[in-house]
Structure formats: structure tokens, C-alpha cells
């Protein structure tokens, strides 16, 4: 199972990075979204995976028994999902501005 998800993470990173290296501004946005997904999956899988046992304390018990999923990476990823949404929204707005105002979609043209 670890191997399987490790390979998926690697593949997601590869597609994200390939996309980030393109000249098209819109593709940069696609790359960013893929990258944030890849990073989340990286944290999620490298912390160890537990099937079907969410970290919630059942009624009537004071502490969580061992064997449940790790709550800490989940909390981190939750934050990451929201922040990356903010980043992507901002980037999309910039992208729109660049194409609307300057008619540019090519990164190399943006240099001038």
C-alpha cells in the first residue's frame, strides 16, 4: 500500500512540475492546483495511512484509543487546502487581468 501511494504522489508531482515549466500562463494555474494536491497527498501518505478509522472520540470515552488515523496531518492539510484555494483564486484573477488588459497568455511575453 505504501509503495502504491508513493508512486501516485511521485506521478502527481511530475505532472504538476511539468505543467509549471510551461510557457502558457493558464497552464501555470493548472500546475499550481496539481501541485497543491500532490503536496497534500504527500503529507497524508507519509504520515501513515489507516483505513476507515477517523480520529473521533466516541461518546462515553475520554481519550482516543490507539489504531485510529493520525489527526495532526489532517489538521495541517485542512489548512493547506484552504490556503491553496486562496492562492489559486488570486492567481486566476491575475491571469484574467493579464489576458484582458495586455492580451498576454505567454509567460515570456510578460517579461517586457
Amino acid at each position: 500500500m505504501e509503495w502504491f501511494w508513493a508512486i501516485i504522489v511521485g506521478a502527481l508531482f511530475a505532472t504538476a512540475i511539468f505543467q509549471l515549466l510551461r510557457r502558457n500562463l493558464a497552464k501555470l494555474a493548472i500546475g499550481l492546483i496539481l501541485l497543491s494536491n500532490a503536496a497534500n497527498l504527500l503529507i497524508f501518505s507519509s504520515a501513515g495511512l489507516t483505513r476507515g478509522k477517523p480520529p473521533m472520540v466516541p461518546e462515553g470515552v475520554e481519550t482516543l484509543a490507539a489504531g485510529h488515523a493520525d489527526p495532526l496531518p489532517q489538521a495541517l492539510i485542512l489548512t493547506a487546502i484552504v490556503i491553496s484555494f486562496g492562492v489559486i483564486a488570486f492567481f486566476l484573477a491575475l491571469l484574467r487581468l493579464a489576458s484582458q488588459r495586455l492580451g498576454i497568455t505567454d509567460l515570456e511575453e510578460l517579461k517586457e
Binding site: 508512486i7 511539468f18 493548472i30 473521533m56 472520540v57 481519550t63 493520525d70 489527526p71
Partner: protein
């Protein structure tokens, strides 16, 4: 008042100096001179105990976790240097009040001078090598400011920069050496280090340590081949040259070598390196010194020679050589500082420092002549001055060395050269018929000659009554070698081989004095070419540094995001990959069997992401990204991350909507890259992917710290009253993080809003203006 407070007082005085000199232009300088005087008085009060073999120690904790403390260790060696720094400092400060009278930046001058003086005293009194290093660098910075005091001219600025670059480059090497010493011995405390010398000397890294520390000392003390910054630093105002470049800063390197003598000395490497470089510096300085035309250049080269001599003597080692180190240090401070100040007075009165155009000044400035004469005779090595005692001891030490013939020859040549230099700088300008420059000279006030004359006379008094310097010499020698010393300090040693050699030196030196002008004419006519000069090498290295830096920057950084990204990725793969390789160990084989649901989800994730990057239109890409997001949330759900699944679905829906709304107008993707770059990028991306795969696998094996999740699992219900632990972490344990996150999102939302608005405004400018 204690030593640390006094040192602090020096910095306070430095800060107050500009204001004080503005309100009291005449008296300010004299008031400021109270600080070095007080410091010297304090040292004198400590002296009886210290000379009795009880060094003063005091420690203030600073960074205990790193073993760095602000500790003070004052033994006989520190005492000697501290007194030299303070007392010569007083003389220089009083002298400068006359020399720079009415100067617009007098306050600034004193501020820098006091800062330098305090830093110097902090170096010599330091008991921890890290705090010693910090004070050491402080002297470098303040001397940079002092050399470049005439900052409106280009030459002093360049000279100051050169001195700074060379000494701080050596300083970096020194720091590396000190850190190595500290990690081997397990302490940075000076006293413990000196007691564990064998540990360092027998260590495999001793060679490296020695070279690194020597680099620090040699650059600071202007040893060959780093000597060339010192003559150039003569661009500083003369009181500064007298202070920094005779008695204090350049002696720091020598001080450091003496300080570390019990820890580093006694090996063949030590002896070879120090006697060679010291010897070359000593002979070269002595041969060049008398043939300079600028008075200050004569003195600068002779200072080089003396610094070389001290290094040479420390290299020879042993009781007699160390005694010579101490005596030469004292004698040099007492004659070189006055000679520099005499040169400054002559310059002030006549407007020139050229040896050729100066003669017959004795009638115009008799007291300055007296100073020059006494100091010059001490430098000559004439009895009964202290310089004579120092020179005899030097010859004694070289005669007693393992290779007496080369060492004594070198010492004798140095003696001859220095004799001629002393004549040229201290005596010659005052004798003979008055030159035109001398006839136009104005007389000088007592402020110009009182202090220098006092210092020079001390050289005479100490020579006549050697009992006055004997205890200090004994003490300092003992401190250098780390063991008690016993010898006599006397003017007259009887008829010894050293006296005979001294006689030869005196005779040959007199000959050189007689022939000096003739020889100089001859030497001036020779064109020195073809010799590789260290200063040229420095200049070339300096320029090469910029070429390399520019080339490197051009290659690795550009205005293209793609190129920068590629560079970062490449470096990341190289360094990260190397680290993974070093960690070694194959990742663990699969332990848990795969469920068909997981295989299905993973495959969808992969397929959708590949489809997203192959899409030819924004709409297709957005749809595929939606699939990726939903597959991610399914993965979260499978592995018990309910909250993540919910959030991911919401965010993903919003992202797809945003994509469609914001960029639906974009044209279809054009193929912008060539096939070649596509392949290159694909390789780079694949490598990064493979690296990430291994990183995830490795992460399962590495466990740096016990996870803190257990804490959350335990405390969530009883202390935070929540059963969903992820939620509790976000809103309770790490609530401040969440607040920060909300703020970031707010800022982002504002940014998006403004960007969208401004886009509309530009698209329909008239409408906006109309409303």
C-alpha cells in the same frame, strides 16, 4: 568598578563623543581621554595580583547552550597589551586634539577611535574565543572606518576597503579554526583550551586548525603575502596610523599567536610556517623601508618588518625567543608611535612628508627633534635604550635556534635595514641645512610633542632601569609559554656572541646610512618588472570574483520564471537526492495488501491529472482538475479523514467554478514550446516525481521525534471538550494558526476583488470616469 562595566563605558563614551566634541570643541577630546586612562588605572590596580600568578577571571553567561559566554581572562599577556593599548591611546587622543584642531568631523573621529580602543581592550581581555572573535571583528570594522576617515577622497576609501576585505577574509578562516578547536575540546573557554593543548596538537585536524588560525593572524598582522594592505592603510590620518598600525591593531595577530602558543606551538609545522613567513616579512620590510621617500611609508615598512620579527620569534619558540617577543613589543610601541606622531607633526608644520625635501628642522621644532632622536635611537638599537635590549635578545634567540646561521643572518639584515629606516624617519629630517620646506615651517604647540616625547622617554628610562620592565617581561613570557619563566632582563649582558653580532650590525648599519641616498638613486632607476606581486594577485582575484559572480548569476538566474524554476529544481534534486542516497537503506517492502477500491481511486487520480495536462482548452482542463479533486476527497474518505473530504469537495467545486467563470474567455492553448524543451522538462519533472516517491517511502522509516498526536488524542475531550480531534486542533490547540489563515484568505479575497475590478475599469475606462 569592574572590567566589563569599564568596557561598556568605552562604547558609551564612543556614542557620546560627537555631541561632546560639538559642545566643547577644545576640552572634549581631553575629557574623552579619561576613558583609556581609567582603563589603564584599573589594569594597574589588578596588576599586583596578576603578576603574582593569579589571572583575573569573570564570566557572564551569554548563550550557555552554545558554550558561548562573555567571559574575561586577564593574565600578564593581556595586562601588557591592555596597558599598551590604553596608554598609547591616551597619547594619541591628546595629540589628535592638536593635529585635527577645528576639523569638521572631530567628534566622529573620536567616536570611531574610542570604539576601536574598546574593541581592542575587549580582545585582549577576552576569556572565551567566540567573544574574542567578535571583538576581533569589531576592531576590523572600526579600523575600516578610521582608515577611510577622509571619505571624500577615493584613495583612502579603496585602501580602507582593501584592509577590510583582507582582514575579514582572514577573520572568517580564524572563526572556522576556532570552531574546530571548540568542537574538539568541547569548550570555548580560553583557560580550558590552553590547558588542553595536547588534545589539539595530537588531533588529526591539527594541520587544518593551524592553517586557518594562522590565516587569521597573518592577515591581521600583515604578514607576507598579505602585507600590502598595511602600507596602503597609511592613507589614514597620521594619529590613526600611529595607533592602529604601530602599537595596536596589527599587533593583534601577534597577540593571537602568543595567546594560543600553549595550545598550538611546539610542532614542526608551527616552527616552519611561522619562521618562514615571519622571516620573509621581516627581511622584506627591513630592506624596503629605508628606501621609501614618504616618511609614513618608511615607518609602515619598518612596522611590517617588526611584525614579521615577532612572528619569526614566536615560531622559533623557547624562553629566550619569547622574552624577545615581549621586549620587542614593548620597545616597538614606545618608539614607533612617537615616530609616527613626529612624522605627523612634520607634515603638519611643513606640508610635506617627502624625505628628499626635509632637512634642518631642528631649530624650528626642537622638542619634536628630541622626540625623533630618542625614538629613532631606540629603533636603531643604540644603547642604553630599550630598543638595544630588545635587539640583543632577538640576536640571542636567533643564535640559540636550531639553524643559527640562516636565522641570525636574517635577524642581522633586519637590524641593518631598521637602523637605516630609523635614521631616515626619526633623525635625518632634522639635521643639515634647512630646506625650503623647513624654512616655511611653522612652530608647533606643546600638544604636538608632549605626549610623543613622554612615550619616547619611557623607552630611555626602561633601558636604563631595566628593573622597571623586568617583572612585566617575566610575567608576559610566562603567560605566553604557559609555564613560569626565569631570566634576567639587563642592559649589559657581558661580552657575548650576540654583542659581537650587534657590533657588526651597528657597523654595517652605519654604512647603509651613509650610502642610503646613493643606493636609493640607483634603486629608483631599476624597473621592477616580471615579479609576481601579491598586491597584483589580490587585485586580479578581486576582479575575478566579480566576473565569476556575474557569470554565475547570469547562468542561474534570469527574468524567466521557467529558467529559475528549472535551476531550483535541479539544485533541489542534486542536494536532496544526495542526502537520500547518503541516508541509504532500501524503503520497506509493501506490508498491507491493496484493496481494489484504492487501486481504482489511484488510477482515476493519475488518469485525470494526465488528462488535465494534455487538455487543449481551459474548459477541459478545469473538468479534469475537478475529477482530480473529487478523487482526492474519496482518498481522504477511505483513510478516515472525513473533514478533509468535505473541505476538498467544497473547495474543489469552487475552484472549478472560478476557473470557468474567470478564464472561460481564454483562447485555446497554443503549443508554445519546442519538442526539445518539452523532452527536457519531462525528464526533469519525472526525476522530481521519482525523488518524491522515494521521499514518501523514506518518511515511513525516519522518525525524528515522537509524534505529538498522542497529546491531542489524550487532551481533546477532557481539556478542549471536543470529540472530533481534527476540529479541536484547528479551533483550539492551534487556534492562532487558524486566525492567521483566515486573515490570509481575507487579504486574498480583497486582492481578487480589486484585480477583477481594475480589469473591468481598464476594459471600459469611459464608463468608470462617467460615473
Amino acid at each position: 568598578m569592574s572590567l566589563p562595566l569599564l568596557l561598556l563605558g568605552g562604547f558609551v563614551a564612543s556614542a557620546l563623543a560627537p555631541r561632546l566634541c560639538k559642545t566643547l570643541p577644545r576640552l572634549g577630546a581631553l575629557l574623552l581621554a579619561i576613558w583609556p586612562l581609567a582603563f589603564a588605572a584599573h589594569l594597574f590596580r589588578l596588576a599586583p595580583d596578576i603578576l603574582a600568578g593569579k589571572p583575573f577571571e569573570h564570566a557572564i553567561e551569554w548563550a550557555p547552550a552554545l558554550g558561548i559566554s562573555l567571559s574575561f581572562y586577564v593574565d600578564e599577556l593581556s595586562l601588557l597589551f591592555g596597558l599598551m593599548v590604553s596608554l598609547v591611546g591616551v597619547v594619541v587622543m591628546v595629540y589628535a586634539a592638536s593635529y585635527l584642531k577645528g576639523h569638521a568631523y572631530l567628534g566622529r573621529f573620536y567616536a570611531m577611535l574610542l570604539m576601536f580602543m574598546t574593541a581592542m581592550n575587549a580582545v585582549v581581555c577576552s576569556g572565551n574565543v567566540i567573544s574574542l572573535f567578535i571583538a576581533w571583528e569589531l576592531t576590523g570594522i572600526s579600523s575600516y572606518l578610521l582608515i577611510g576617515f577622509k571619505h571624500d577622497k577615493e584613495v583612502p576609501r579603496a585602501a580602507a576597503l582593501q584592509a577590510l576585505l583582507i582582514t575579514t577574509a582572514g577573520g572568517l578562516a580564524l572563526l572556522a579554526g576556532l570552531v574546530m578547536v571548540g568542537s574538539i575540546a568541547g569548550t570555548y573557554e580560553l583557560r580550558e583550551l590552553l590547558a588542553n593543548g595536547d588534545l589539539i596538537r595530537n588531533h588529526d585536524l591539527y594541520g587544518w586548525i593551524l592553517v586557518l588560525i594562522l590565516l587569521g593572524a597573518f592577515t591581521k598582522s600583515a604578514q607576507f603575502p598579505f602585507h600590502f594592505w598595511l602600507p596602503r592603510a597609511m592613507e589614514a590620518p597620521t594619529p590613526i596610523s600611529a595607533y592602529l598600525h604601530s602599537a595596536t591593531m596589527v599587533k593583534l595577530g601577534v597577540f593571537l599567536l602568543a595567546r594560543f602558543y600553549p595550545m598550538l606551538a611546539g610542532t614542526p609545522e608551527w616552527t616552519a610556517l611561522l619562521t618562514f613567513f615571519g622571516g620573509v616579512t621581516m627581511v622584506m620590510g627591513a630592506l624596503r623601508s629605508p628606501f621609501q621617500d614618504d616618511l609614513k611609508a618608511v615607518l609602515a615598512y619598518s612596522t611590517l618588518s617588526v611584525l614579521g620579527m615577532l612572528t619569526f620569534l614566536l615560531g622559533l619558540g623557547g624562553k629566550v625567543a619569547l622574552k624577545a617577543v615581549v621586549l620587542v613589543t614593548i620597545a616597538h610601541a614606545l618608539y614607533k608611535a612617537p615616530l609616527f606622531l613626529v612624522a605627523g607633526t612634520v607634515d603638519h608644520a611643513t606640508g610635506t612628508r617627502s624625505v628628499r625635501s626635509l632637512s634642518g628642522l631642528r631649530t624650528k621644532m626642537p622638542w619634536t627633534f628630541a622626540t625623533g632622536l630618542i625614538a629613532g635611537l631606540s629603533m636603531l638599537g643604540a644603547p642604553p635604550l630599550l630598543g638595544f635590549v630588545a635587539k640583543e635578545t632577538l640576536l640571542d634567540a636567533s643564535l640559540a635556534s636550531a639553524y643559527p646561521i640562516p636565522t641570525t643572518t636574517a635577524a642581522a639584515i633586519t637590524g641593518i635595514g631598521l637602523m637605516a629606516a630609523a635614521w631616515v624617519a626619526g633623525i635625518k629630517p632634522f639635521l643639515g641645512e634647512p630646506s625650503t620646506a623647513a624654512q616655511r615651517a611653522h612652530g608647533v604647540s606643546p600638544g604636538f610633542w608632549l605626549g610623543p616625547l613622554l612615550l619616547a622617554s619611557l623607552g630611555l628610562v626602561f633601558g636604563l632601569v631595566t628593573a622597571l620592565v623586568a617583572p612585566w617581561t617575566l610575567g608576559a613570557t610566562a603567560a605566553i609559554q604557559g609555564a613560569p619563566a626565569a631570566f634576567k632582563v639587563a642592559l649589559w649582558h657581558g661580552f657575548t656572541p650576540a654583542l659581537a653580532t650587534s657590533g657588526i650590525v651597528l657597523a654595517l648599519g652605519t654604512g647603509l646610512i651613509a650610502l642610503r641616498d646613493l643606493l636609493k638613486d640607483r634603486l629608483d632607476r631599476i624597473e621592477w618588472r616580471g615579479l609576481p606581486r601579491p598586491s597584483t594577485l589580490y587585485q586580479q582575484g578581486y576582479e575575478a570574483m566579480f566576473v565569476v559572480a556575474r557569470g554565475l548569476t547570469d547562468r542561474t538566474q534570469s527574468d524567466s520564471l521557467r529558467d529559475n524554476l528549472s535551476t531550483i529544481l535541479f539544485a533541489f534534486l542534486l542536494l536532496g537526492g544526495y542526502t537520500l542516497y547518503r541516508l541509504g537503506g532500501l524503503p520497506s517492502p509493501p506490508t498491507v495488501e491493496l484493496h481494489w477500491l484504492e487501486v481504482g481511486l489511484g488510477s482515476i487520480l493519475l488518469a485525470a491529472s494526465f488528462a488535465a495536462i494534455r487538455a487543449r482548452s481551459m474548459l477541459n482542463a478545469a473538468l479534469m482538475l475537478g475529477v482530480v479533486g473529487f478523487a482526492m476527497s474519496a482518498v481522504f474518505l477511505v483513510y478516515g479523514a472525513v473533514d478533509l473530504a468535505i473541505t476538498q469537495i467544497v473547495v474543489d467545486t469552487l475552484t472549478v467554478l472560478l476557473f470557468v467563470l474567470v478564464v472561460h474567455k481564454l483562447p485555446r492553448f497554443a503549443r508554445l514550446s519546442t519538442k526539445k524543451t518539452m523532452i527536457r522538462d519531462a525528464i526533469l519533472a519525472s526525476l522530481a516525481g521519482i525523488f518524491m516517491t522515494f521521499l514518501v517511502l523514506k518518511a515511513h522509516q525516519v522518525n525524528v521525534h515522537e509524534p505529538i498526536s498522542g497529546f491531542f488524542a489524550e487532551k481533546a475531550v477532557p481539556e478542549a471538550f471536543g470529540r472530533n480531534i481534527v476540529n479541536v486542533i484547528l479551533v483550539d490547540f492551534r487556534a492562532l494558526d487558524t486566525l492567521g489563515e483566515i486573515t490570509v484568505l481575507m487579504a486574498g479575497a480583497l486582492g481578487v476583488y480589486l484585480l477583477v475590478r481594475s480589469g473591468e475599469a481598464k476594459a471600459k475606462p469611459r464608463e468608470v470616469q462617467g460615473t
